[in-house]
């Protein structure tokens, strides 16, 4: 899948930079830790902008091409920031046969964005994800840490209404 690359200018705080430096320092010299460093970096920044990838490449002493290659290979790594509320619609088989596509379409219509996009105000982002393993609750969506199971397209408006702040 092609990843959407953010055009939003990158900013970071001294605290974030220090955290990333510490993670890199712990793993320098061990290339097998590259994914671990990138996962930590994503925890710190919420996504992996080019600036962060470059810093990891320099710190781990690997070419930028390798970091970018890994970042685009794995679904977990995001190249653009998530919204304040990140909505994931499970499109695993169990959810799909129970109508998950309709729920994704409804969310997409109500938020005015496609999957893998973020609303302009930065409030909601929408992802279609693969099985989260809660097949007993199919179809399932998650909003940040909250899980909503056994929902229908008609429930979408009510769920979004809970995240208006």
């Amino acid at each position: 899948m092609l990843k959407k690359i953010s055009t939003i200018p990158f900013t970071d705080t001294a605290e974030q930079a220090a955290k990333l430096d510490a993670v890199i320092a712990e793993c320098t010299g061990d290339v097998s830790q590259l994914m671990h460093v990138m996962q930590e970096a994503q925890n710190i920044y919420g996504y992996l902008p080019f600036e962060v990838q470059q810093k990891i490449a320099d710190g781990m002493n690997v070419p930028m091409e390798k970091v970018y290659g890994v970042a685009t290979f794995y679904a977990q790594f995001a190249l653009s920031p998530k919204g304040k509320y990140s909505i994931s619609v499970c499109l695993g088989t169990a959810c799909y046969v129970k109508g998950a596509q309709e729920i994704l379409d409804e969310l997409s219509a109500q938020l005015g964005i496609e999957a893998e996009e973020c609303t302009e105000d930065g409030k909601f982002s929408l992802t279609a994800c693969r099985c989260i393993g809660a097949c007993g609750l199919a179809p399932v969506i998650t909003v940040n840490e909250d899980v909503y199971g056994k929902i229908t397209a008609a429930d979408v408006a009510g769920i979004l209404a809970k995240y208006q702040d």
Partner: protein, 595 residues
């Protein structure tokens, strides 16, 4: 000593429906009533019956409360735990009869199950190593390193007939013997917990419910093959599993069950966790090893096989979680015990994740050779809503489907392969008459196109072309000739792809073509989708005799395709209709039909 034990499911399914809050509330309520030293609350792994979560079992009675809500907790504490009266309205209805409350093992869902890999799931507290030890835990490892030679261990595994549970079905003992035969300064054991099959969650449940059995099995494998280090490669999407596994590893290290000189035998074994990052191809063993090494998880050509040159270029044994979960029981109970279960060539049990259009969604473990009919109608409780069973999909994006006509097939590796299907990791998705098989094939192709790593052309380009052909079919633009081309391309991709992902990617198309060709033909020739799924082929219309002229649909239609006077039958202008279905959802008289 506690007089009562309350077991609450802490698997992902039940945690998603708030079981942690139920535990917290229960503990607070017990404290308020002064019962905290009489009643113990334990968070366990998955009980299996996910459809009815959150699940709670109270011992010694063994009564099974289902769909428990946080608000129900005070009543359970007050009535059951304080006054000794079960809360009947919360009991799983199958356990309640006129005269008595039945045990869990007498219900249809559980009675035919035989739990080997899931033995401790939903029984012990997975975060307490002592509970695992109390249930015979680490006995098998002790027996191996103190009484058996590595060759004897491998022989037991070979004799048991255990085959790889990740999908391939390769004999596990044989795999171990290959690695054992290679001399090297360092060897590895890898546990594949990158459960990428959508709809399969048995590996996660084992890691969440019984992490120590995986640690024990990996150490046994290390002893048998001469490896001193192991990696568990687990999906980052499984946070609960990762956390419990880490706790378990720490506890095992503390007790000396991992580390140097285990049981004073001179055998050393250490274990690490590696987090995956969401790439289906990493379920392929060589791709997984490439990923552990910190690279894009692309597969490597074989040979050399991992037993010769695997992780970091060293001999490596890789097995799936469920395969490992069987090992301690095999060592404890013997090869004969294990091979007494199952069919001639598929021994033991298999865990299936039941999902889709079935009443009892959840995890079941049954002897190999159980028929699909028993799984769906006896254990699974049948299809909800009185709908007709159409097919069961197994093996995820690499598998095929079993049509209703073959519902009496005993499920094992060889029978499934014979009908062009595959066991896969054990996801079993049930589909009813409302599911379109062409659409399902397209769904899986969409998945493999996304997940193809791009290294080899047949898979990278071939799957994309397949998807385009399926798109054409579902849009009603294909010809019969395209069906032949579709089949040819499928066979070409199967034969020429580098790894298992590409070699199996056409399976969903081939299987549906084989069993549901008439449905493909309906799309191609009649330009109809019999199940009413493929939007381009649907048209909406209003049945004049049912329409009351309430105007609701005309007001809801986003493109103004519906017209008609008040209290008179309306009509849909199909040239304007975008087939969104809003009219159908809003009509109170069921006057709108799609076909």
């Amino acid at each position: 000593m506690y007089r009562s034990h309350v077991l609450v499911c802490g698997g992902t399914g039940c945690t998603s429906s708030n079981s942690q809050k139920i535990i917290d509330t229960m503990e607070a309520e017990l404290k308020a009533k002064g019962l905290e030293n009489e009643v113990q609350v334990i968070r366990t792994g998955c009980f299996g019956l996910c459809a009815l979560g959150p699940i709670m079992i109270v011992y010694p009675e063994g009564c099974f409360y289902s769909e428990v809500k946080v608000e129900d907790v005070p009543e359970i504490v007050e009535e059951h735990l304080l006054k000794g009266r079960m809360v009947k309205r919360l009991l799983y209805d199958e356990t309640v009869t006129e005269t008595e409350v039945k045990g869990l093992n007498d219900t249809n869902f559980y009675k035919t199950q035989q739990r080997v890999a899931l033995k401790n799931c939903g029984v012990i507290n997975p975060e307490d190593i002592n509970e695992y030890i109390a249930y015979d835990g680490y006995q098998a490892l002790a027996k191996c390193v103190t009484e058996l030679t590595p060759e004897q261990v491998i022989q037991i595994v070979k004799d048991s007939g255990l085959r790889g549970r990740g999908g391939g079905g390769f004999p596990t003992g044989l795999k171990w013997s290959f690695t054992a035969a290679n001399k090297a300064d360092q060897k590895y054991v890898v546990c594949n917990a990158d459960e990428g099959d959508p709809g399969a969650f048995m590996d996660r449940s084992v890691l969440e419910g019984d992490p120590h059995c995986i640690i024990e099995a990996m150490a046994i494998c290390g002893y048998a093959t001469g490896a001193t280090e192991g990696y568990v490669y687990v999906r980052a999407e499984y946070p609960i599993a990762v956390a419990r596994l880490q706790i378990a590893i720490n506890q095992a290290k503390k007790l000396g069950l991992l580390g140097k000189d285990i049981f004073g035998s001179g055998f050393d074994f250490d274990l690490h966790i590696k987090l995956g990052a969401g790439a289906f191809v990493c379920g392929e063993e060589t791709a997984l090893m490439t990923s552990i090494e910190g690279n894009r998880g692309e597969p490597r050509p074989r040979p050399p096989y991992p037993a010769v040159k695997g992780l970091f270029g060293k001999p490596t044994t890789e097995n799936n979680v469920e395969t490992f979960a069987n090992i301690p029981a095999i060592i404890r109970n013997g090869a004969e015990w294990f091979s007494s279960m199952g069919t001639e060539k598929s021994k033991g049990t298999k865990v299936f994740a039941l999902g889709g259009k079935i009443k009892n969604t959840g995890l079941v473990e049954i002897p190999m050779g159980t028929t699909l009919r028993d799984i769906i109608y006896e254990i699974g409780g049948g299809i909800p809503g009185g709908k007709k069973f159409k097919a069961a999909q197994t093996g995820g994006p690499s598998g095929g489907c079993i049509p209703a006509s073959l519902i009496d097939t005993p499920i094992d590796y060889d029978n499934l392969t014979a009908i062009g299907c595959m066991m896969g990791s054990g996801g079993l998705i049930v589909m009813d008459e409302d599911n379109c098989m062409v659409d399902i094939a397209k769904f899986f192709l969409d998945f493999t196109v996304d997940e193809s790593c791009g290294k080899c052309t047949p898979c990278r380009v071939g799957t994309k072309r397949l998807l385009e052909m399926l798109d054409k079919i579902t849009e009603g633009k294909a010809t019969l000739e395209d069906l032949d081309k579709l089949e040819d391309l499928c066979n070409y991709i199967k034969e020429n792809s580098l790894c298992g992902l590409g070699q199996t990617a056409p399976n969903p198309v081939l299987a549906t073509l084989k069993f549901f060709r008439e449905e493909y033909i309906a799309h191609v020739v009649d330009k109809k989708c019999p199940a009413g799924v493929c939007k381009s082929l649907l048209s909406f219309s209003i049945e004049a005799d049912k329409c009351k002229g309430c105007t609701l649909c005309a007001r809801k239609c986003p493109v103004g395709a519906i017209s008609g006077a008040v209290k008179e039958a309306h009509t849909i202008d199909t040239s304007k209709c975008i087939k969104c279905g809003v009219c159908m959802d809003s009509c109170k008289f069921k006057a709108i039909i799609k076909k």
